[in-house]
Subunit: 718 residues, 2 copies
């Protein structure tokens, strides 16, 4: 043994030259306006963009401002070593980094070490999350995307090279109070476990524009059907058709909005693993049931996880396409193979979509390690288990979206896993975690990575918590109660029933605004829900705070960072500052420019920190100076295609305002062929204290759902 | 983009045959008695055994009982796929798995998914720990070791193959209450990210024998110097030579045992990164200081972390050997290169060892990701950052042990990271975590993996906690207060000073017993501290308990497992059942056979669960029927080489008893050349109620430290 060791030693003493290994810089090639690609080594056949299969939205990209390649290209370097790519991207001293997908606790990514790995969220931001998108943006105004479907390790301003151009100061911990366990690092470094990889750079000039470019490169954001922005209730797992009908009646009785109902596993004859067939005892006549719901204007969304029960009608035909391992005893179809995908979609179409079902909730495509297929699983396509895990959620989104697209019907659903390239797929991510605070942080972060997130409401310990959660979910991509286990209803907490109804009504009233904001997501790439850091005029508050714990509890004297993650932007004009259980007041940071209270129009502040005490009934919402907010009367269902809707357009503050109001049929993909309209809303303040309002006329041959228009000046006067 | 996608699809439809991939079984070759090796694919040049460089202790191996290859060999299968090895080992229905290194919360490893990755312990058993040893034992009586220095993913009875020979029952969660989120799995599966790997099988017939084989294969367990089993105090970081002398005086005044003192970073002129030079203001005359301490019988242990400060005298000479990245601004010497190792050892020798320093505490060789070199770091030997991380702690143990071995002096130190192959290196693992309960679980687990662990005491919220922690650390491989940050002394909590002294005195009194038990670790491979599950007659209590949380908090209805991890064996005869803060009584599970109270000799029970209420002053300790426990009078320092020591030998219970008492000089490696003795102690119960006692005579030319012998019958009578 010792002899072997010495032989080994002799071999090892052929020293590797450590410093020369980073000598190479990649070659950049512009592939779309403001987007550059570099190919390092020999990239794999399969990657995130190929999995998502989206097509860049060039029209949107061409409209964005241009300044040129945003990085010192020669400072981007890489190294190929032991079959892996090590990549190094420079950071400036005061640069901050955002993104890397659906983080729940951190906004600032500089200083973090993560492995981007599709997984359920385990309570710590370590890269294992439902959408670990390998894309980041810098406040210096650019974005970086690494197109790999491998588990990717990132040291984001956390590793320090010995030959670093901007080295940290060496300090003696014995005597120097400035010693830090996190010495300054001047680079993002990544390790990609493959022989090559494609890297993309997105120019700004601002962070928001880099994000918009990323979304547009991935096809532009999704545009949900109008009904997708209404209220949705997911009923208890074993509800029968009659139970569901009664639930819908109860919503009517309570005059509570309801656009779609989600059926949980019990709609299927067997579930976990799934048959993808209706259970005939609970649902004796599915076509009649679906039709009846639809006649009431209620769409249906069905829970599935894509793992096939031996009793499923497609079990046999899918046999050549299963992976080597099962998930909860279900076979895992290799949906990257078109024939497998077709068989599965065929079942969904025949049994559900063709009788009128409107969408799916795709569960357990994320993890966790105990539930999903293991990393040594093998799939018939030859795609590795790891790559399959990074992209399975995207494939299922694509498969289901494709079915509805064939029928020229839009869908809007839920999914537990996503990744880069999927911005255009109409799915909202959810999970089993339930920290209200962290749910809001996730909402902030979703906007950096081309994903949508819902802080769904399940049940609460108190009526206060119920109301606070309802208030924030109504300012999110999907206003939902998920009562699969609890059976809660919006009115389950009678003390706050009125306030809960008020917030759901407000959600409905804001539909013209939210629908327009989603259209901007689609056409311009602007995320409808996003962190304050993407808002112009928002000052970076990035100071480190001293940790008061002593060395026994905090042996490396780690500092605490202050991040703003409890308020966010909802569309162009609204700043949302939720309250959490136990809070009666809170601080709100208003970006530069005048801001006004949404409910009263009263002046709130300008580039400052204010304290608000909104009472239980309100979630604090602030509006930009001059902003127009198009609203409608609250209603129980979203407007249908062709239905005229009266608008109430609110104008806030003292500035003149304009707003681009989007319109289309709200149901089909005809907007992709030009069947849509942007209507310009305008308010000019006149010297006599009055205002001049205008709306651009409807174009001939374009959709026009606008009925009477009322203009409301939110003056702050009672 | 879509075109590309379809091209890709066409390529992918060359289906991989999923089921045939596991067709291969490895070829087994016996490499030592009861130990088989298989070579799969092309293993890497560098692995755990090469890093540790230990030599199998054949003499010990030859003494173990033999039955033959312990597994159905044809059921062990592997697959080479995408440059990785997937390995599958069968599990029987009622089989339980233990090991995988230093886990802090779990004992049963079946059902777990982990990545074995050297790291600090982050509060969850996920494979990231200080010693993630890729070795497990089965209660069916065999052990498996995977000799890789890569990060290794393990699904231990957690993954389910579609073609599994013992598949789980498919259940419908909608209707079947027996549905489980953890379906039955009949195999351990591992993914090793390298083109080949060596696998070792260790036969039993019992688990303990499989563990012994593993330890003997790695050179046998370490044998500390006698003083290493005494009490040790680590003083405050910036203590001066005078402060240390005063501390030693205070120990004398309190008549508190003290064999070695640990100096924390402040002994060095600069630390974090380190100069490896004495600070001349705090230590103006190191040789005199070390000599003075030694004259009092006090050994010194010095803190280091192996990262080189620019101000170290070896900074320049080590330059050709640094890795690409720094740790806390310190250069990382590639100690796998003999010349680098020699330069570093040269500095330790010249400045410290040659003036009489006795050992080291090697810090921060574990992680965490923010502190250590990143995975893309490059080292001049060409060994990858990942492999370096898995083995750096082992290399530093080897380097320092080697220095002392050259001088024929034993050492005993502390280290933050270890791995397989290092059983024979005289280091105890410690960390920054501080859950007393989890520290005891770690102590239980250490025995499965050939490592030692100390539940060090730092400070406590209450005197009760202080005492309870002191009681358990005195029944561990290193009886230590680590006051580097707190400055605590044994008598810091005056309410319990008497009890704390009593337990330290007991530790000293038990030195003949503990020293013999460590000799058995060395010669027989028997871990001195180990889980109850390794004890014959201990019944498996493995029932699953229903989790009372509802589906909202526990959506997948995860069960809770009952594991025994709060009591453990200390050597052959003692069962330790620590109490934790807030407990006044506790349950103890006694294995089959009669057990007696250590303090009184009273009968305690037989194969049953008892409840004990020991008061504050005692940690419950139970002794086997017939057991002999060799003790000495409490003293402040360990006996020196050549010093005769009177023995008190306790006999418990009703059975006749024998015990193998080990003796050598306690200081050098001469025992490796035969300079040791096993003395047989014997008690026979006579019919007249008396006993006949005997001790085998000392052999001529062998060490003999035994003075007068007193035999004490622990009858349980007052």
């Amino acid at each position: 043994m010792m002899k072997q060791l010495f032989t080994l030693m002799a071999v090892l003493v052929v020293l590797v030259s450590v410093s020369s290994l980073y000598a190479q810089s990649p070659q950049w090639q512009q592939v779309a306006p403001g987007i550059w690609k570099a190919v390092i080594g020999i990239p794999e056949e399969y990657d995130l963009l190929k999995a998502a299969g989206s097509k860049p939205a060039l029209a949107g990209l061409e409209k964005l401002p241009r300044k040129g390649f945003p990085l010192p290209g020669e400072k981007v370097t890489y190294q190929l070593h032991q079959g892996k790519v090590a990549l190094r991207l420079p950071l400036e001293k005061d640069e901050q980094i955002f993104g890397f997908g659906l983080n729940f606790q951190t906004i600032f990514q500089r200083g973090r070490v993560i492995e981007l790995h599709v997984d359920h969220y385990g309570g710590k931001d370590n890269g294992r999350t439902h959408a670990p998108v390998p894309f980041y943006v810098s406040d210096k105004g650019y974005g970086i995307f690494v197109n790999t479907a491998r588990y990717l390790r990132v040291w984001c301003g956390a590793a320090v090279r010995a030959d670093s151009p901007e080295p940290p100061v060496v300090r003696d911990r014995n005597t120097d109070k400035k010693w830090s366990s996190r010495p300054y690092s001047d680079a993002v470094e990544m390790l990609i476990p493959s022989k090559g990889v494609e890297i993309y750079v997105f120019e700004g000039p601002t962070m928001l524009e880099a994000v918009r470019r990323f979304n547009l490169f991935n096809g532009g954001g999704c545009l949900p059907p109008r009904w997708g922005l209404g209220f949705t209730q997911r009923v208890k797992s074993l509800y029968t058709a009659d139970d569901v009908k009664k639930e819908a009646e109860a919503f009517n009785q309570h005059q509570f909005p309801l656009d779609f109902i989600g059926l949980e596993p019990g709609w299927q004859s067997k579930a976990y693993p799934c048959t993808f067939e209706w259970d005939c005892t609970r649902y004796p006549d599915p076509p009649a049931f679906v039709r009846e719901m639809k006649e009431q204007g209620i769409h249906l969304n069905l829970w599935i996880n894509p793992y096939v029960s031996p009793e499923s009608p497609v079990y046999e035909t899918l046999k050549p396409f299963y992976g080597s391992h099962t998930v909860w005893c279900g076979m895992v179809p290799d949906v990257t193979i078109p024939e497998a995908s077709k068989i599965l979609a065929g079942q969904f179409l025949k049994s559900q979509v063709e009788i009128g079902v409107s969408g799916y909730k795709i569960d357990e495509v994320d993890g966790y390690d105990h539930y999903l297929w293991p990393d040594m699983a093998v799939f018939p396509s030859g795609i590795s288990a790891e790559q399959m895990r990074q992209t399975y959620g995207v494939w299922m989104q694509k498969l289901t979206t494709g079915m509805f697209r064939q029928r020229n019907e839009r869908t809007y659903g839920l999914v537990r896993a996503s990744n880069a390239g999927a911005s255009s797929l109409p799915y909202v991510i959810y999970n089993d975690y339930y920290s209200h605070e962290d749910f809001i942080t996730a909402l902030c972060n979703s906007g950096f990575s081309g994903i949508l997130w819902t802080p769904e409401v399940r049940q609460s310990k108190t009526s206060e918590e119920w109301l606070r959660r309802m208030q924030s979910v109504c300012f999110s991509p999907m206003a939902m109660i998920n009562a699969w286990a609890s059976g809660t209803k919006p009115w389950t907490y009678p003390e706050v029933e009125k306030e809960v109804k008020a917030i759901a009504d407000l959600r409905m009233a804001l539909m013209p605004y939210f629908y327009s904001e989603f259209a901007k997501y689609h056409f311009d790439g602007t995320p409808p829900f996003r962190a304050m850091y993407l808002e112009p005029g928002f000052s970076m508050v990035s100071e480190e705070q001293k940790n008061k714990a002593g060395l026994n509890d905090n042996p490396y004297a780690e500092a605490i960072r202050k991040e703003i993650k409890d308020q966010y932007m909802a569309g162009e004009n609204l700043l949302i500052a939720p309250l959490f259980t136990g809070q009666t007041d809170r601080q709100v940071i208003l970006p530069r420019g005048k801001w006004y209270d949404f409910y009263t129009g009263a002046y709130a502040g300008d580039g400052e920190i204010i304290t608000v005490e909104p009472g239980l009934e309100h979630i604090p919402v602030f509006v930009k100076d001059g902003a127009l907010v198009p609203m409608m009367k609250p209603r129980l269902r979203a407007p249908k295609a062709g239905e005229k809707v009266d608008l109430e357009i609110r104008h806030y503050g003292t500035k003149n305002g304009t707003y681009e109001l989007y319109d289309d049929d709200g149901e089909t993909f005809d907007y992709e062929n030009g069947a849509y309209a942007w209507r310009k809303l305008k308010v000019e303040r006149l010297q006599n204290g009055k205002s001049k309002t205008s709306i651009s006329p409807a174009e001939i041959g374009k959709p026009d759902h606008i009925g009477n228009v009322t203009w409301i000046e939110m003056t702050g006067r009672p």
